[in-house]
Symmetry: D2
Subunit: 356 residues, 4 copies
């Protein structure tokens, strides 16, 4: 890439927006030129408008950048959306209509028939679905954070044995609820056995992700997922206890081999945010653990462990995903890298930027 | 009961032993007369021998009582065993041979063919199995803490619809590992997705608990359980995410009714430690929670919530059990109450005590 | 008391209001007849209007009681105020003007010259200051939660040796910030070394509490307090590390004796919420601890430990106070009991209630 | 340095030993050639002998290295000691007698008159004290983790204004107690207001660190420290609330300037582990926080905040130190770097290594 594409962050002061800022610091292809937020923040320097929750300081180049109002007209080639779902629907649509590619982490458009729901290592061909959109720009989404962990883990099994049924119980980190999110009086020394809307996403999104793109439409995969979701007092990293029914007989050893030997379909592309290997398999009985292993592969790995027979379905195991990196901002950045590599992201003519 | 039975506590200084001491404080039927522990503690007053971890002080009548060596000869009518599994096997056997009823929380003898594995509200008739034991005394056990929560929740469904398959994922409290137990460096802000031996107990114990006693032997029930067990940073209360396959069709509403209408087979006995109703059903979507609800019914309730359709099996829901009360010491005390009511616990002749 | 006084709770749905509801459940002298809150809650049954955070269920008599708008006209003999400080100032004033005694936990009027700042065991005579108020009703306040722990601990030393200088560092529980209060992302595995306004209260309130009431005015005591306040991931119980400069020489043993022998000036009154003894002294080097000892004396004790020489001032020690019971709602209830015993709380004529 | 010095780690499998392994991974001057531990571990590959608690995997070059018995004869130019205090005294002495420089984190020899207690940025000249030792090798120590934070913060004030009295209350992380260390049942949602021996170290070590080396002996500084130490549920990072009496009058602004303008005496040396600046000053009222800021400067910074007037002494502020990096293994590595730069660490002749 001869020079870097310019990027706007929608919802730049929120928890996901902050993670975009962190992850894009020093990115070889993308450069933040617009930090967009609501009227309350617009006009202030970023470090003032933001209650920064990161454990590393705000990148220096960003700290004093002025926050602008989040509406079309931003000076950038494309936007990442870290918007909350109550505004993401219409605002992302407005940016797409104004000609911007919108790489979104919000849930609003995920299941829309013309919007790719994309994990580069799982369904990179679904990117082409964006061509069915009729706006000047387009919208591409990444899945729910728990879905990402589940689907990345299931992908090798899907390919090699087929997966028809899945039982998954999640133990999800607090950061998944944003900031301020969960009250410490609910979280400390406790489990909240409910996360609104989460179980439904785990049931529906995998069907689209594993679906088949043909003639500009996706036929959902025939996979049944039952989910139980819990919030646990962990900062980062969703742990998922998974049991699967396979279409073809396989032992736990076969399943372990499938995880270990799985080749990413985008391995040859060497995208900057792609980990060397997507999956990391642990043989220690008590690994992976959220606090110790969520950061592996700079948060872009999915870790697998405890592969064994299931007495009810066929095989059970656990998977761990960094919910705010691989499961949110990092996944969106990887999506943008795939789109850039495929030619779907281009410098926007200055004229367009000025007039839009 | 004209006067109180005298009680010895084996392993009195450990975490379970301490819970026995707490729970028996002011008990109307039982009075602690012997606090037994290893040589290291014997001879010291209890408050010195014990690193007391309770949040209420040591009962006054107990604090200065001298700890004695744990071997037959204790002056008491029967013993509770809070021994750890590395010594419980032989020591409980020795007490039974010396004529003591042993009401044990240890795992060692649970699956022995002549030893009742007992939850009074679930299989009170199994108490009679102790008559098949050939020692002068006998051993009666309560199940693993997670099994208790699962089986208490399944019991009404078993009776009304039949349960053939169960998927359960547990989120278990730290106190289940005893003291010092889990290192804070493993526990804080983390999940340890493994508890040695736990999943196996959840698979095997329910088969015995739901089994049929006939001709002095138990035929195990035909129920398949697949378990995934996790340690979470919670102090007390195991939360279990359960999916069941029923033999007879039932809606979530039917299942809720079954929980609500279930009559305990020991309700009429008014045992001192039995809660008014065993099960407590929550309709709030985010309840029950370990920190808020584990103590309900003085820790003897099992709380149920989130009853809904399961996409893979039939119905799913959550259950919460206080692991060190209902799931350990409190369950053992209730077992003793049932045995006392049935005439299996009697004052031992002083001569026997003196000579044993 | 021939029959119970009727009570209104201002801010009944908030964290402090909920604690009033819990503590007053079964109170021998006071009965809740009015649950008052803002327009958003008024008209709803209490259990619907309230996000109940207690670990015991809402008392049955209260759960379905209708919440009313918080304004004069409530049918009750007096009110407890659990209002937040942004509304407490004017609203408490309005109730006092309408003839209601207002027993407040809010900070707004604490330092007003005519308003008693009251801890019954410390300065019961200050209650008489309310007679200088010119409204039909009056306002009485309890101190900040950290101040309560500090002043209760200092009182015996003040009386016996004199205390001129105090250094105090607090480790304060999350519940002190109300609900939702501190975000779990700030609290978990962290310390927030700042609590807005708290250090100032610890400096100023003790001067009034230890002051002398003469001719209808309080002359502040000459005591200098320097405070450093921290929020730690604890649910209930503020721990305070205290060093004192004494006016009269004393050894740690003398100080320990002073704590142990201190007689409460209200001991003879047998107020329902007063603990048998105010202070509890621990000799174990690692006690008291918030999670284990905050509840002592049903949360109304102040626990002391680690009494030893201070290399810079004279003596140092630690104190623990249950911040939402003794330090807030429980302290206010005890204040009301003292006022009732002194004749400052009476049944209000129904006519007044109707017309106000 | 033409080629790297070879290093042995004593106590390599323990918590501090593991931190040495992590920190030395990729070190430009030092290379681990001997991982030493007790008989139980000797002969096993490091990854088997060690219950690794780090959040990054064991460095690849180390994982399969064989653990050797910790006794003189190790093939290395010098050793780092992460030994626990019950064995460090004699074993470090044995290594020093056998000709090894011993760079120790243990407390045993810290206060010995001929042993440097060293923080390179504070008292680098004290390194010369090792020349008074009579063994073939020598012992150099770093201070207790809490002392390091305190003394680094006091150093600029000492130089510019003089410091005569210090009150410090610490909120210390769990990792300071090693592994398994503090039980989760003591740590979770709790404070343990006692750490054995810690307060004494905070009182005595600063006197030596700020002392004057003359004629081969150190005259302790005349500084009085009173400490209160608490264990809080934090993973890494000791927070200290500090009040100081200054010899020369200074405002909080003067103190802030002193922190900001302080020049490290070793700045010109560019030691690999030395942070660009030792102190980092925060102006936000709620910073620094352990979880967010302990890692600054790769854990080698000391962070300062909340500088303000003290009502009892002169000025108060807070300081934060990464207890296992700057306060332990990282501090020891920096000590070794200083010693290497000064010529006190040299390749040992192979003959010596073979015969020793």
């Amino acid at each position: 890439m001869s020079h870097r594409l310019t990027v706007g962050i929608l919802g730049a002061t929120g928890a996901v927006g902050q993670k975009f800022v962190q992850i894009l610091d020093g990115h070889p292809w993308f450069e933040i030129t617009a930090l967009a937020a609501s009227e309350r923040s617009a006009g202030k320097p970023y470090h003032e408008a933001t209650e920064w929750i990161g454990s590393t300081p705000i990148p220096e180049a960003i700290a004093d950048q002025e926050v602008v109002l989040g509406e079309p007209g931003l000076e950038c080639d494309f936007v990442f959306s870290g918007l909350s779902s109550n505004v993401a629907g219409t605002m992302e649509q407005a940016f797409a209509e104004a000609g911007y590619p919108v790489i979104s982490n919000a849930k609003n458009h995920r299941m829309a028939p013309t919007v790719p729901l994309l994990i580069p290592e799982v369904n990179p061909d679904h990117a082409a679905l964006l061509e069915t959109q009729t706006t000047d720009g387009y919208i591409v989404t990444n899945p729910n954070c728990s879905t990402v962990g589940l689907v990345c883990a299931l992908q090798p099994l899907m390919q090699q044995f087929g997966v028809s049924q899945v039982q998954v119980t999640t133990l999800q980190a607090l950061s998944g609820a944003g900031y301020p999110g969960v009250s410490s009086l609910d979280a400390l020394g406790n489990v909240v056995p409910y996360i609104g809307g989460e179980e439904d996403k785990l049931t529906t999104e995998p069907r689209k992700l594993f679906g088949t793109l043909q003639d500009g439409a996706i036929t959902p995969a025939d996979i049944t997922v039952s989910a139980q979701c819990n919030r646990v007092p962990v900062l980062e990293g969703h742990l998922e206890c998974i049991s699967v029914k396979l279409s073809k007989s396989a032992t736990p050893a076969d399943v372990r081999d499938a995880f270990l030997n799985h080749e990413s379909p985008i391995a040859a592309l060497n995208l900057p945010s792609a980990p060397e290997r997507l999956l990391r398999v642990f043989d220690e009985p008590n690994f992976p653990q959220p606090r110790r292993h969520a950061d592996l592969g700079r948060g872009m790995n999915v870790s697998i462990g405890r592969i064994r027979d299931c007495e009810v379905l066929d095989v059970k195991f656990i998977a761990l995903v960094h919910n705010t990196v691989r499961g949110a901002a990092g996944g969106a950045v990887l999506n943008a890298e795939l789109l850039a590599e495929r030619g779907y992201l281009q410098p926007r003519p200055a004229a367009v930027q000025a007039s839009s």
